[in-house]
């Protein structure tokens, strides 16, 4: 087992998931609740990584993060060929999965419940925290698990922007590719098993979150307790 690659994979996935939540939830809320000019354009742009070849997404990121790109020039940050670039690439390909699921979940929250909360003295932040998010929770978690799984399995875009540097940017999918190239099938088998198990577990968890309601429809989600 390539433990460096596993550790890097988990690290990249964790940061990517965090980025997905931070960017994805506000976007999903915006798309579910507001009608504005350019909405369709924004939706299309967010979903684009779902259908583009990952290498194309990686190439765009290469331009964006490269020496003449805005990040290097204005922020003076060199992300290319670091694990940070891998996390960013993973976040971008995983983002649409969260946004689509969370958007549907937000849209499914009854507006009169939010209005009731307002008449009961809640500010907009409180309405979000105590009513909207708890009620949309299942859909959000299901989308998040899928997005994280997609980030974990990211290969093409990561290879383009982070390279394949063992111990620094080589995640599990890349390590697997190397192992096969070098005919180290024992290594490859372990990694394949590990990744299959992770993928299986996340899909299973996502289904559980989606259906969770059927068995226990009103599980407390407000952070309050007896």
């Amino acid at each position: 087992m390539n433990w460096d690659a596993l550790r890097l994979s988990l690290q990249v996935t964790a940061v990517a998931t965090l980025l997905i939540v931070l960017a994805g939830l506000p976007l999903a809320l915006l798309l579910a609740r507001r009608r504005f000019r350019g909405q369709t354009l924004l939706e299309t742009l967010i979903s684009l990584p779902l259908v583009l070849p990952p290498t194309v997404v990686g190439y765009y990121l290469l331009l964006f993060l490269g020496r003449n790109g805005p990040v290097a020039r204005w922020l003076d940050v060199q992300l290319l060929f670091t694990w940070g670039a891998a996390a960013l690439a993973s976040a971008i390909v995983g983002l649409p999965l969260l946004v689509l699921a969370a958007r549907a979940a937000f849209a499914g929250v009854d507006r009169s419940l939010e209005n009731a909360a307002r008449t009961l003295g809640s500010s907009e932040i409180e309405v979000l925290w105590r009513v909207t998010l708890p009620l949309a929770r299942r859909g959000i978690l299901a989308g998040l698990v899928l997005a994280a799984a997609r980030a974990l399995g990211e290969f093409g875009a990561t290879l383009m922007v982070a390279g394949n540097i063992p111990g620094r940017t080589q995640t599990l999918p890349l390590a697997l590719y190397d192992a096969v190239q070098n005919r180290e099938y024992g290594q490859a088998n372990t990694m394949v098993l590990a990744m299959t198990a992770l993928a299986f577990l996340s899909l299973w968890a996502a289904r559980r979150f989606e259906r969770g309601g059927a068995a226990r429809p009103a599980e407390a989600g407000s952070g309050r307790s007896e």
């Binding site: 009169s112 209005n115 008449t119 009961l120 003295g121 009513v131 429809p217 009103a218 407390a220």
Partner: protein
Amino acid sequence: MADQSSLSGPASARLIVGLEKRLPGLDLRVHLTVDSEILVLFGPSGAGKTTTLNLIAGLATPDAGSIMLDGQTLVHKNRPGATVDLPARRRRIGYVFQHYALFPHLTALDNVAYPLPAGRLGRRKPEAARQAHALLDRMHMAHLAQRYPHELSGGQQQRVAIARALAAAPRVLLLDEPFSALDSAVRERLQIDLAALQAEQSLIIVYVTHRLEDAFAIGHRLAILSDGRVQQVGRIDEVFRQPANSRVAQVMGLRNLFEARVQAAAPEHLLLDWNGLRLEAPAQAADVGATVAAYIRPEDVKFLYPDRPLMGAVQHNLAAGVVLGQQASASFHRWRVLLSNGCEIEVRAPDHAYASLPLQAGQSVQVSLRKDAVVVLRPGLGAAL
């Protein structure tokens, strides 16, 4: 406005509403004064009832107008003076929604505790739990405190919703068709409890309904909302007996509306000419020669027995006619009668009445339109009959 009078003392709370809001298909202009009482806001669907409640609660913003509560300005917009628009959460106006709007992820107790101050990390304080329990108990729901909304019946959910609204210590309680989805026995009990609650806490209650029975069951005063305007406000029996205009009569579902010319206005009665039929109505001010709208409720039109002497109330307003048809429902019969003046009238009676009279279609009959029951309406706001 027919009636702005107050039922309670000058020191009590008062809600004064004067709002304008344009919506597609509705031009709403509402003026209302509500004291510590249950004001029933009655009107057909699409009249603007719910919009009015949303404007008062702060869930919608008016184009212009103001709302005052106990001398405090909640909204003041496009009127002389500084603009005010207090958000819903600062208005202390409770709102009970038609479909209860209980939080499905919280127990009944947690729903009621929702507006109560929470401790760190949103943990419920013991004090809040006690208070929520007391409120549930007040609504006879303490035994179901740990149930989730989907485990409660409609009536129980609405009880929790009322307790939750009260937990926020509202000065005004708005109810939007609150009991319309409930069966009549449950509705009746809830109405009794709501009336007791109002008296106990001197609440200002605005109760929206499209059912006239609800208005009678619960309201102190009745406001008729139709076509975006408050057509009439007054004590319920007053509004019912004396609709301000033909639009009100129509909205209230009154039958036998007709137009008549005023022939004479004597001190003892008003003489009307309804398409050739001479009718006496109770004495009231009217211009001789003017055309007025009038109605008589179907219960107040009586068939006469040819073999019995005319006595009492049926001596006046006699007319000959022909029965056009008969309809029976659970508790009463309804007949359509073509009068000799060429106009149709509806007659209604309990199903045991007129058992010995042949009243099938084609039968010639004599009817009496009870003089006291002929109601002459004040002209409507541009509404034609």
